[in-house]
């Protein structure tokens, strides 16, 4: 088999970087920061190379590398990407240097360990998106937990310990059940293929032939793990805690990339491996998704803390993505994939902006702010664009994703009802309510708090460098989404084909 080392270089760059950063002295703060940013920029450069070398017309995995790892269990280091993974590793490597730059002044304590954690986290996230072996995927999936746990626990807010432990145990709960399912699947495969295997491409052939009832259990074990990560209502309770207590950089990565691991997992594993069960449970899961959309939006509306508001809005937005996936049409899944990127960009931007204000005033409650447009016009402009993008304003990125998902779910044969679309669409209206209402209370009117005048200063150059790239993409996706949609088109089709082949009878 052809061995392509590109993805391995991509994976090794942050890994080596995270180890090398430990050799810096504690006092070399600037060097440590620059080193971290440099390493993550090199990783970004590798993904850009991937982007240019990638051929979007073929649905198969590309840049494949396969090396035997654990022969006794027939597990190999097997990596490769298709369009979906490419978009997500682009997002990951794009956000990582920005988060490191954004925490330039916010993180002072234990800096070396912070950069180590962020780079190590990047290894795990990239690994999750490029693994083609279930076992390898599981290792990276778990490896992500530890650095995130440290990021929340060491640099987080007051209730950081509670939040970090809750985050860890919630996500671990789901993933360990997935581990049992992975082992079961590998053993089942050994009956059919004659060898114990966790090779994803081989399991694609095995999964659909699992007896119906057991397949339901397998689907459930995988789905639970992903649903906790997404999070799907009612498994979302760890999310507001983790977001509120995490430092800004942690929130950006958590919302931007970690939640996408869940939706990516559903698309990559749940649907193609267990198509019959996926179709069977699609209406139920879609109901939960729609409930999540409305619930997240309503809860966001009553928040008094800006960060919590953005956190709950994630529950609502991720509901759209899940709805798009389980509607199982080309449009809706394409919309879900692009919406994963959009949510990473716009929610990332919102968290960064809230973090910037917090760094200056150490307050996040909406009531404290008011009329800041006069004090910080540039900041207010960015906040407006980010809010509009998050609520799905036409011309910006959020609109594209939500629109595709709604169209797709409307004509979905699997859901076979327009009710999902109607209710989901109200989520967009609610989003406009809570975001614009927050914006109005924070930005417009008279300056309500005299303290703000001295403390709140406008964006500095470093913050502009962090924000502008994100906003370029927010507009780019909004105006010309074709650049990104064409990447994932072939892989979306192949997921739908895989599901369609095995469920033709179910849909009649």
């Amino acid at each position: 088999m052809e061995q392509n080392l590109l993805l391995t270089y991509l994976l090794l760059t942050p890994l080596l970087g995270s180890l090398l950063v430990l050799f810096f002295g504690n006092e070399q703060k600037i060097q440590i920061r620059l080193f971290g940013i440099g390493v993550s920029l090199i990783a970004f450069a590798f993904t850009v190379i991937c982007y240019f070398k990638f051929d979007p017309s073929i649905p198969q995995f590309q840049f494949i590398q396969k090396v035997d790892w654990i022969r006794s269990l027939n597990i190999s280091y097997y990596v490769g990407i298709d369009g979906m993974s490419l978009l997500l590793i682009l997002l990951t490597t794009f956000l990582t240097p920005l988060t490191l730059l954004s925490s330039w002044s916010a993180i002072q304590k234990n800096l070396k360990m912070f950069v180590f954690s962020v780079l190590f986290l990047e290894v795990g996230m990239i690994g999750v998106f490029i693994s083609l072996d279930l076992f390898l995927f599981y290792i990276f999936w778990e490896a992500v937990l530890i650095p995130m746990y440290f990021i929340i626990g060491i640099w987080g807010g007051e209730r950081r310990i509670y939040a970090s432990i809750k985050f860890f145990i919630f996500t671990m709960f789901g993933s360990l059940l997935m581990l049992v399912a992975i082992i079961w699947l590998a053993i089942y495969a050994s009956g059919l293929l004659g060898k114990f295997t966790t090779n994803l491409l081989e399991l694609y052939k095995v999964g659909p032939s699992i007896p119906h009832q057991i397949q339901g259990w397998m689907f459930g074990a995988f789905f639970l793990s992903f649903a906790i990560k997404v999070p799907i209502f009612p498994l979302h309770t760890w999310l507001p805690d983790a977001h509120v207590e995490a430092p800004t950089a942690g929130s950006v990565i958590l919302a931007g990339v970690l939640l996408k691991m869940g939706t990516y997992g559903v698309l990559r594993f749940c649907l193609p491996l267990f198509p019959q069960s996926a179709v069977q449970y699609a209406p139920l899961i879609s109901i939960l998704a729609v409930v999540g959309i409305i619930y997240g939006a309503l809860v966001s509306m009553v928040q008094t803390d800006m960060k919590k508001l953005v956190a709950y809005s994630s529950v609502s937005h991720l509901g759209f993505i899940v709805l798009g996936i389980f509607a199982m049409t080309i449009e809706s899944i394409q919309g879900a994939v692009i919406q994963m990127i959009n949510h990473g960009l716009s929610t990332g931007a919102l968290f960064l902006l809230v973090g910037i204000a917090y760094e200056r005033t150490h307050r996040r409650d909406i009531a404290f702010y008011g009329g800041i447009a006069k004090l910080v016009p540039v900041y207010s402009t960015f906040l407006l664009i980010a809010s509009l993008s998050s609520m799905g304003f036409p011309g910006l990125n959020g609109f594209i994703g939500e629109f595709l998902i709604l169209i797709g779910s409307f004509k979905s044969a699997v859901l076979n009802s327009w009710a999902y679309t109607i209710f989901a669409a109200t989520g967009i209206i609610f989003a406009a309510v809570y975001l614009l209402w927050m914006y109005q209370r924070v930005v417009f009117g008279k300056v309500t708090n005299e303290e703000l005048k001295g403390e709140l200063t406008d964006l500095n150059l470093r913050e502009l460098i962090v924000l502008i790239p994100i906003f370029i993409f927010i507009v780019w996706v909004g105006i010309y989404p074709g650049t990104f949609l064409r990447l994932s088109e072939a892989s979306t089709k192949s997921v739908i084909d895989q599901v369609g082949t095995f469920t033709v009878n179910l849909l009649k």
Partner: protein, 477 residues
């Protein structure tokens, strides 16, 4: 079976340790610097025995008229015992001075206990098992109370002795019944005719008594009552040895008795028994550990839980579970000895600073020690890709292969519970500020042991094949 000198050379590890014990006694009696010399002498012995064992792992012979098996599976166990003991002795050098028990006999007792374990793991006759077991146990009873001036150590020693004697009673009674019903103490005979014997209720009863006796030794619920007090009262290094190599020795005996029928068509009447004690141990150990405030006591309950995970392998009862359990034992030995080595460094004089609180802010006091402890905790919790994860992975694979998926699910659920208390230590180390100004004196010997253990945990985790291939090679299939 014709024997020649070559085959007897495979008995070298036992000879090394046996001769070493005699020499150590002489050193202790006739030299004034015995105390300084003995630890290093012991380490040389252990490393020599370990390397000799590992070299002969692909050969497998039965010596002395069917009494002792050398090479093969016993060799991998010898490797685990000797490496574990070497690390424990390395940790003990400076710890004993702090603990106030810098006696020469400490090292001689450790050597003797290791010899006992090696006899147990290689036994091919039930009486050899008993001999090895007593040699190991009696050394442990003394080691537990090595600090005779300390009340809790005396209590630990006495409690261990009484309950140990109780367990021995079960074992002897079981042996008597087995002998009575089969007329032989040979394990080879027992394996070959198991199907025939298994219809005899007395034989099954005898084997059940035997297994119950060893359930005490592996610290499985409901035979675990002695564990927390003994692990807490004994000196930290001794606990490190008892909880790892001692457990491994007890498991080696269970494997000797049972693995002959794994993967064959012979009836396996103990599957429900092991499934029940596995579930009880995993859940009880993990849940009770949460409420502990003393780290040694917490790790005692964690040790009970780990016995449960390994018992999952025994319940599965196939060839995969044999390899899985041995892997688990090796992984557990190194991660737990590593954890106890860190505890022995952090500990103050006279058993102070054993509370979880004393780990607060360890990262700001000594980052290397903190990172190692975090690594051991993550490994014990079974986070991939560390050695502890693969131990669990292999036994769960074995369980699912025997159609006991439910047992793997229970195992997974109890792992989630156990994560809470392992993570709690990491929380204290990294997220809290130091609770006192106590200055930790890091002995370079102990630190070396910690680092070796940490490297093994990492290597066995990242490249599990390194160990697994050796184990599969030693099993010879």
């Amino acid at each position: 079976m014709p024997s020649n000198n070559y085959e007897y050379s495979l008995f070298l590890p036992q000879i090394i340790i046996g001769a070493g014990i005699v020499l150590s006694v002489l050193i202790e009696i006739f030299t004034k610097k015995g105390k300084q010399l003995l630890p290093w002498f012991s380490i040389v012995l252990f490393l020599a025995a370990a390397s000799n064992s590992i070299m002969n792992i692909s050969r497998d012979f039965v010596l002395f008229g069917g009494m002792i098996e050398v090479g093969g599976k016993p060799a991998i166990f010898n490797f685990i015992f000797n490496m574990g003991a070497a690390l424990v002795v390395l940790t003990s050098v400076d710890y004993l001075k702090k603990y106030g028990t810098n006696y020469g006999e400490y090292y001689i007792l450790i050597q003797s206990s290791v010899l006992g374990m090696m006899i147990m793991a290689g036994a091919r006759d039930i009486l050899m098992i008993f001999m090895g077991l007593e040699l190991m146990s009696i050394c442990f009873y003394v080691l537990a109370g090595i600090n005779r001036h300390k009340l809790s150590a005396n209590e630990a020693s006495l409690k261990y002795f009484l309950l140990g004697a109780f367990a021995t009673g079960f074992i002897v009674y079981g042996i008597a019944l087995i002998y009575g019903s089969t007329g032989s103490t040979s394990i080879q005979n027992l394996r070959e005719n198991f199907t025939g014997y298994s219809s005899n209720i007395l034989f099954i009863l005898g084997l059940a008594f035997f297994i119950i006796g060893f359930s005490f030794k592996i610290a499985a619920v409901p035979f675990h009552m002695w564990v927390p007090d003994v692990y807490q009262g004994s000196s930290t290094t001794v606990t490190g040895l008892m909880s790892t190599a001692g457990k491994a020795a007890a498991f080696s005996v269970l494997l000797i008795m049972l693995s002959g029928i794994f993967g064959t068509s012979a009836p396996y009447p103990f599957r429900p028994y092991f499934a029940v004690i596995a579930v009880l141990s995993m859940l009880f150990g993990s849940i009770v550990a949460i409420s502990q405030n003393n780290i040694k006591r917490m790790l005692a309950y964690s040790s009970i839980a780990h016995a449960g995970y390994m018992a999952v392998g025994l319940a599965a009862g196939n060839l995969y579970s044999v390899a899985g359990i041995i892997y688990y034992l090796a992984a557990y030995t190194f991660m737990n000895i590593g954890a106890f080595a860190v505890i022995s460094i952090v500990e103050g004089k006279n058993d102070t600073r054993n509370e979880l609180e004393s780990f607060s802010g360890l990262n700001s006091k000594d980052p290397v020690l903190a990172a190692a402890m975090a690594l051991f905790m993550f490994a014990l919790a079974g986070i991939p890709p560390l050695a502890g994860f693969f131990g669990k992975y292999y036994v769960f694979v074995a369980a699912i292969r025997s159609n006991m998926t439910w047992l793997a699910v229970v195992g997974v659920l109890s792992s989630i519970i156990s994560i809470y208390f392992y993570i709690h230590v990491v929380v204290l180390i990294y997220f809290k500020n130091p609770s006192d100004n106590f200055k930790i004196e890091v002995s370079s010997f102990s630190l070396t042991a910690v680092i070796i253990a940490a490297l093994l945990v990492l290597v066995f985790g990242l490249f599990p094949d390194t160990l697994m291939n050796v184990i599969i090679g030693s099993l010879g299939h």
